[in-house]
Symmetry: C2
């Protein structure tokens, strides 16, 4: 089953319409990977309206289809673990490029460990690592 079909199934399951705008947003997100709203909007403009993209993103977030990655003052959007195996990001403070941290089963367990006993339920987590990529290091970019 293609991920587009999975999305349709999920939308139907939640009794919301499968519309071309929603499919277009989903496709753009798959194509772009982690991206800002502006990038997404640029990709979809003018076929999908800004307001509709906002509404779709909000819907997708509430359905757990989309995730926000904090990026300093801003954020980026990406398809969530439902469509994209769970992973963590390393982002560059210089150029904003995002790479994916190598997988580590142990860290997932530890994160569960440290939260146990706090009385929380439905836990999820986001681990964001920031640094300077090789390129920006050689360009002499410096953090404040």
């Amino acid at each position: 089953m293609s991920s587009k079909q999975e999305l349709s199934a999920l939308l139907k399951k939640h009794k919301v319409s499968v519309t071309s705008a929603r499919l277009a947003v989903f496709e753009a997100l798959s194509r772009l990977g982690p991206c800002t709203f502006a990038e997404l909007n640029h990709e979809l403009s003018p076929s999908v309206n800004r307001a509709s993209i906002y509404r779709t993103i909000k819907l997708f977030e509430s359905l757990g289809v989309v995730h926000r990655l904090p990026m300093g003052w801003k954020y980026k959007l990406e398809l969530s673990d439902l469509f994209n195996k769970h992973h963590h990001h390393i982002s560059c403070a210089g150029c904003g490029q995002i790479s994916v941290a190598k997988e580590d089963r142990q860290i997932e367990r530890l994160i569960l460990d440290i939260t146990s006993g706090a009385g929380y339920e439905h836990l999820s987590h986001s681990l964001e690592i920031t640094g300077l990529c090789a390129g920006c290091q050689s360009k002499g970019y410096r953090t404040a």
Copy 2:
């Protein structure tokens, strides 16, 4: 040395003025703990202007005095590890309350491990855990 004195020393070291507005913002942050901009503004109003708070927060961030914690669509501010031992947060998706995860030296090491070899430098990280606190569970709050 009190943390207020540490702040003054840090400001002087960076050759920026030690002003009453900056001290006030710093004190409010210590008093409030993790808080939204609106809360901070409310605490400081009308003695410090909104614009000055923004400017001060920006300065403090660039000096590494203040951190932003991603909170869904918004963020909260808190004093950074310089004034506050390094730690991780668990926030409640229902009421927004933040608690501090129990410490774990191992997790810090693992985080360094998974990032090594990616060619990044000056690494820092933020681990945000989200769930439902006991209170919101009993109130029957449900995530979407």
